[in-house]
Amino acid sequence: MIPQNFEYAAAQTLDDAIKQIAGGAKPLAGGMSLIPMMKLRLATPERLIDIGRLKELNYIRESGGALHIGAAATHHEVESSGLVRGKCPLLSETASHIGDVQVRNMGTIGGSIAHADPSADYPAALQALEAKFVLKSSSGERTVSAADFFVDTFATALEPGEMIREVIVPLEAQGTGVSYQKMYQPASGFAIVGIALRIARSGGKISMARIGVTGLSGKSYRAIDAEKALEGKAGSATEIQNAAALVPQNVDINSDLHASADYRRHLAVVYAARAIAAALSRSA
């Protein structure tokens, strides 16, 4: 398990990191995805630029009606932040389900997103939150929505020379109920299926539903048909079941040694129904 050799430098500033990345260096943050890939020689970068200790990338703050989270904020920081727990509880709940304590101490939100593992937990929540990612390169910055960012398995909208600088999530409105329900792969802890839910009610009816899905297919997605099926409904057991049944529709479903496509489809419906019911019971 010895990686191919590489050149290493620790970035002193964000500008320094951007310069290195423009020159072809691969950013290393917590290393929880990249280092295992390097040990298996599935990834063989020639140069690494360590951005894990850049203070400029490690922050969680509220401004302009949104939470701004630096790319190098660790899962533990997101999980335990009073600001995230209070203002965006779906994200902190999801972070607490990632890997284990040691992984959450090192792994970063930007790293997880850039890696785009189809079984990663964060993307489900970020889709349901309609999060935005600020991507930075030597020629400037652009903002991309979660829906547009995740392209396919390990494939994202990041261009060569670009890195994720910041994740932007909305402040949750009072009374919105959220939940993240996940079927764990027992050895790795990755999501075989993970469903993130946000539900708001008004006058006894569901006024807003957002459903983010991970693990099911090559990329995370929003189950928009299932959201529409919930909106305007009171949320009876039958209505929940009918909406959950739409979650795996029109999706190319993954099949591997952990779960066949049929089993994943079944799990998606079961976990979607659980997540809808949980979010509904937490909404006011």
Binding site: M1, F6, M38, D50, Q102, V103, A187
Partner: protein
């Protein structure tokens, strides 16, 4: 690349290859064999050490990433020949059999109490999800963490 770090209160400086994993650096260069190499795939937790106060898996980190850091391994836990409360609790509660997972278990257990001095059983188990014991000693390990919590509070 030259790295300088503080390990168990002592300063070490070495020239290392960037690809050298921290666990191999600790074991083979520094000579601290407490952090064990179990799975080498960041699943088993036997290599767990503290890096700047946070429990991390030293098999999934390059030594160069730890440049300038404070590291605590199981060897640095006892003070002046007196075992740390968590070590004592593992001993008293039979929290180990073969002992292979124990250095990582103790560091991870210490992290649980550092963050939450009075954890529930469920919180203890959640905190130990990243550590595997093949002697199936989990119940006694949970008992040990509870005993250490009690001893620390007393």
């Amino acid at each position: 690349m030259n790295i300088t770090l503080n390990i168990n209160g002592k300063t070490y400086s070495h020239d290392v290859e960037p690809r050298l994993l921290l666990v191999h650096y600790l074991r083979e260069v520094v000579g601290l064999t407490g952090p064990h190499v179990g799975c080498e795939t960041s699943l088993c937790g036997a290599c767990t050490i503290e890096l700047n106060g946070k429990a991390v898996k030293s098999c999934t980190m390059f030594a160069v990433q730890a440049n300038g850091a404070d590291i605590l391994t199981i060897e640095g836990l006892a003070e002046n020949g007196k075992l740390h409360k968590m070590q004592e609790a593992f001993w008293n509660e039979h929290g180990l059999q073969c002992g292979f997972c124990t250095p990582g278990m103790i560091i991870a257990s210490k992290q649980i109490l550092d963050r939450n001095p009075n954890p529930t059983d469920e919180e203890i188990r959640h905190g130990l999800e990243g550590n595997v014991c093949r002697c199936t000693g989990y119940q006694h390990i949970v008992n040990a963490v509870k005993a250490a919590a009690k001893a620390t509070g007393a």
